[in-house]
């Protein structure tokens, strides 16, 4: 009789024992599968978030920029970037390139009205267009004046007649722009206009003194709130310091990097036009600012020449970024708008490159270096993303922790498998005695037990990895949502974690579990096979 047949028969003969030892192996294999996928998911996600958002596969910068990075040295840019870009696009293995300018800024609570600051737009528009209310009549009169003034400067805002509550948000934003201009310039309060309206203490304090120019809008908001309760909300930005990270980029070339277009929550991609002055906010930042599509916000920052400059830009879109840290800070604007704001002329800070084949990273880096030096550009630093700053340490750390965790679980899983298997063999000492007495050779006995364990191990680990995969794969598609709060950590982990199931890992786990189970049976079986049949028969 063939040994494997006996082995199979033994397995099915004592079902309970087979199931018990199988369960241990299956559960160990399942848990290891889940854990490894979970961990691989975190790692993959973090790497992707780093190279798509921050570094590209290869990053090109001025070679002195990195040393001075903490100082935000805008003067260390890539001057002839269009030329470089063209050459890069023609390089082998380059999938996509994107020029970028990143800069930090702080939004101090703007007192201007944002679209969402007005609670009741229907009422607001009725008041403005009907002309029955003295306060709004004044507002309307000044609005018309401001409109003319803006038109002279080339900015069109809607006429009073065309204002209706069914306007789209962009047009409504234009109306609000005009209204904000009025509120910044004129004082709404006048004892006649506000006759019969009881003012709050804070507002009264303003009426008693000459209100300086920059405080007029504060005063106007308070007065409006007193006169029309429920119309506008308290300034949600008041006194807040909101940090932002601006990223000037070429939206047409974003495919493969952040794919902002697919992450739009509302609105659209900005026009690449210096005059248009449009930006996209990340949804977390928009929430902090209480801004929405159509609003205008002012960005002020340090320019290349260390002076301060500010521009007012229109929000054309809100994107939802997967990483909480980015999503509460980032905003995106066309390259030329950023250049205009930072007085960068026609230079950029960095060029990010995505590769078709990551394995050819090194050859591509050197071919880019050659291309650049052949045209006399020597002041640029070309780097693979895994050699940039803290990222290599980051990734290494991630991997090492991953190995530790895997080792840990393999160790624990193995003990479970080993103890179960050894137990099975020892329990069957008498059986070994029987078969030995009947003439089975020692080597055959060892092989028999080995085969049994192998079959049980194989079947159990298949079931284990299948169940594990069954849990992990749907989770990988649906994603597993962590809480939002990864914001303040220097950690590029997505809030939506997708475990990464891989065939390779699954096979490794399967092979490993089977092997451990088989090997574990080997030593006790060998010992059992060596003792005299009589001894084995007498065993308890």
């Amino acid at each position: 009789m063939k040994l494997y047949k006996i082995a199979f028969r033994n397995i099915s003969r004592n079902k309970r024992r087979s199931i018990l030892s199988g369960t241990a192996i299956a559960i160990a294999a399942m848990i290891i599968t889940i854990l490894i996928s979970l961990y691989a998911g975190i790692g993959k996600d973090m790497k992707k978030n780093i190279y798509t958002v921050l570094t590209g596969h290869i990053r090109i910068r001025h070679n002195e920029y990195d040393v001075n990075e903490a100082l935000n040295p805008l003067h260390l840019g890539i001057d002839n970037y269009k030329d470089v870009l063209e050459r890069l696009e023609n390089t082998d293995n380059v999938e996509a390139v994107n020029p970028r300018i990143s800069f930090g800024t702080a939004f101090y609570g703007s007192p201007r009205l944002f679209l969402q600051d007005v609670k009741d737009w229907d009422r607001f528009i009725t008041l403005l267009t009907s002309g029955n209310n003295p306060v709004f009549s004044f507002l309307k009169e000044k609005y018309l004046y401001v409109r003319e003034r803006l038109a002279r400067k080339g900015t069109q805002i809607p006429d009073i007649e065309s204002i209706a509550s069914n306007m789209d948000r962009m047009e409504l934003g234009d109306v609000l722009y005009g209204i904000n201009e009025v509120l910044e310039r004129y004082v709404l309060y006048d004892p006649d206009r506000f006759a019969g309206i009881s003012l709050s203490e804070e507002t009264l304090a303003y009426t008693e003194r000459d209100v300086p120019f920059e405080e007029r809008i504060l005063f106007n908001r308070l007065a409006l709130q007193d006169a029309f309760p429920g119309l506008i909300i308290d300034n949600p930005r008041s006194g807040k310091l909101i940090l932002g990270m601006g990223m000037g980029m070429d939206f047409q070339k974003d495919a493969g990097f952040m794919n902002l277009e697919t992450k739009l929550e509302s609105g659209g991609i900005p026009q690449s036009d210096r005059e248009a002055r449009e930006i996209i906010l990340s949804s977390g930042l928009a929430k902090k600012l209480n801004a929405s599509v159509g609003d205008r916000i002012t960005i002020s920052t340090k320019t290349k020449y260390m002076g301060m400059n500010g521009i007012t830009v229109k929000v054309t879109g809100i994107v939802d970024l997967p990483v909480a840290m980015y999503n509460t800070r980032f905003f995106f604007l066309p390259l030329d708008t950023a250049q205009n704001l930072l007085k960068m002329d026609d230079s950029v800070i960095e060029i990010l490159i995505l590769l078709k084949d990551i394995n050819k990273m090194n050859t591509t880096v050197s071919s880019i270096k050659n291309t650049l030096s052949s045209v006399g550009i020597t002041n640029l630093d070309v780097r693979a993303w895994d050699t940039i700053g803290v990222y290599p340490a980051y990734i290494l750390m991630l991997d090492i922790v991953g190995y530790y965790v895997a080792l840990f679980f393999f160790l624990l899983g193995s003990t479970v498998i080993i103890t179960t298997t050894i137990m099975v063999v020892y329990e069957r000492m008498r059986e070994i005695g029987t078969v030995a007495a009947m003439g089975m050779k020692g080597s055959q006995i060892v092989r028999l037990f080995f085969l049994e364990s192998f079959f049980i191990g194989a079947i159990a680990s298949i079931i284990g990895v299948l169940i594990g995969s069954g849990i992990v794969i749907p989770l990988g598609i649906l994603g597993w949502d962590w809480s939002e709060g990864l914001e303040s950590a220097d950690f590029a982990m997505s809030s939506l974690l997708k475990p990464a199931w891989s065939l390779r890992n699954t096979i490794i786990i399967f092979v490993y579990s089977t092997a451990i189970a088989s090997i574990a049976s080997f030593f006790p079986a060998r010992r059992a096979a060596k003792i005299q049949p009589v001894e084995a028969l007498r065993a308890v």
Partner: protein, 462 residues
């Protein structure tokens, strides 16, 4: 929205936070019964047959040395790895908490209720109006406290700048709460900032990043309370190297009175950190301070370092990952213990049949097996505790050094390079108890099954 998102984790939460206690209660209930049985059966009971069953259990333990050994190993490894993992995580969090308290927040803070809501934006409008009065009031009640103004600003040095959070601290009282003014923290010839002087103290990593040295002058541009721009020009007199990476990376300290004047704070403070000595009972302590100030300072709230640090934000998500791991470790260990035990008893159904055939009563057999399983559990768990403690001693006394690997990386936890574990007797006791419980339950099921069968069936059982 946020709460909805967190739902998947609710599965694990009761397990982690209440599971230990439930297991503990079950265990103590079980142990009480066991002791009662032991005392009654072994010592008080003169019935030799029943007394015999206990002795038999004990004998069995040593008779089947191999089986006992294997089962013990399963239990021991499970326990060792579980308590080690737990100790490591606890150590990690404890160190992180300590560094957070000593350098960043104090063990608790008194803040304006509205400030808490907008804390991330560092508002200057919600303040504590009379911090000095509050501090002296707290001191009378034996609680050291200090005052701070925390504000956002941009540091300018040479031809660069960087956004940063600036802490205006009161040099006179700061050391009552924080450990910033110590030899360990101050590097080389650093001199702690002095009241009324245009001086500043910055984190070492920040200094390196920006190329700032002792004696340099930096500008901090910020806004006053009313929103006007203002600039503080300060001389760097101290560079500090703490064990808190956030302070090293972005900490800037200026004298309270200098900031007070420049920001037009009129002697007010954004927060009053207090030093509550007993961190372990922080919730109780926080409540005590709350009730102390409730009458005289309406509108102010007390936030413990846990509220300030975690508060359901940064750490919770990471803690979840760790808890998931801990649960998985527990599951594997539990499966190992139960499975080996189940197998050991199932194999002996024939033996049970024999005992019954020879006239041993069912309760006696049950006690025999329970006692044997309990014995295996105790031995295994003891080995596990010793093994776990050995592993833990290494990580406790020496720690795992990630220097070089981590560099100057910050990842949310206030931890630097050397990771040390801690001793967590609670987990040790519970793991010890639960594993014994598991072993006993696992032996109880098959032996009960055997007792329900006909004696002849037992004897024929394979």
């Amino acid at each position: 929205m946020a709460d909805k998102k967190r739902k998947p984790f609710i599965l694990f939460r009761p397990f982690i936070f209440t599971g230990k206690w439930i297991a503990g209660v079950i265990y103590f209930w079980f142990v009480t019964i066991l002791w009662e049985v032991i005392i009654r059966e072994l010592i008080l009971n003169k019935n030799h047959i029943r007394r015999f069953s206990l002795q038999l259990g004990l004998k069995n333990l040593f008779r089947y040395k191999k089986r006992t050994f294997i089962t013990c190993i399963a239990i021991a490894v499970g326990i060792a790895i579980f308590i080690w993992t737990d100790a490591f995580i606890m150590g990690f969090e404890k160190d992180s908490d300590t560094n957070f308290i000593l350098y960043e927040t104090g063990s608790a803070q008194i803040l304006d209720a509205k400030y808490v809501e907008e804390k991330d934006y560092l508002p200057l409008k919600y303040t504590i109006k009379t911090p000095d009065k509050l501090i002296s009031f707290l001191k009378q009640n034996g609680i050291p406290a200090t005052k701070r103004i925390v504000f956002g600003g941009e540091i300018f040095f040479r031809n660069g700048s960087k956004q940063a959070t600036v802490y205006a601290i009161d040099p006179a009282t700061n050391s009552d709460v924080f450990s910033l003014n110590t030899k360990k923290v101050l590097t080389e010839t650093s001199v702690f900032i002095r009241a009324g002087m245009q001086e500043t103290m910055i984190g070492e990593w920040l200094a390196d990043d920006m190329g700032i040295h002792l004696g340099d002058t930096i500008d901090i541009r910020t806004r006053t309370r009313t929103g006007a721009f203002t600039t503080l020009t300060l001389n760097v007199t101290a560079i500090i190297n703490t064990e808190n990476p956030v302070i090293n990376k972005a900490g800037i300290f200026v004298p309270y009175d200098v900031a007070d004047e420049k920001l037009m704070m009129q002697g007010e403070a954004t927060d009053v950190p207090v030093n509550l000595a007993d961190w372990k009972k922080i919730e109780k302590e926080t409540a005590r301070v709350s009730s102390l100030i409730a009458n005289d300072y309406p509108g102010l709230v007390v936030q413990s370092y846990i509220d300030l640090f975690g508060g359901g934000t940064i750490m919770e998500s990471k803690r979840y990952v760790i808890n998931v791991m801990l649960v998985l470790v527990f599951v594997i260990a539990a499966v190992g213990i139960t499975n080996t035990m189940l197998m050991a008893v199932f194999e002996r159904i024939k033996e049970i049949g024999m005992m019954r055939a020879m006239g041993m009563m069912d309760p006696g057999i049950r006690v025999t097996f329970l006692f044997e399983a309990g014995g295996i559990g105790v031995i295994g768990a003891l080995i596990g505790l010793i093994l776990g403690s050995l592993l833990n001693s290494y990580t406790y006394f020496i720690g795992i050094d990630f220097t070089g690997l981590m560099g100057r990386m910050e990842f949310g936890y206030r931890m630097l390079n050397i990771f040390r574990s801690t001793w967590n007797p609670q987990t040790m006791i519970i793991a010890f108890s639960v594993s014994i419980l598991f072993a006993m339950i696992a032996s109880f099921i098959p032996s009960s099954k055997a007792l329900g069968m006909e004696v002849t069936d037992c004897l024929r059982y394979q």
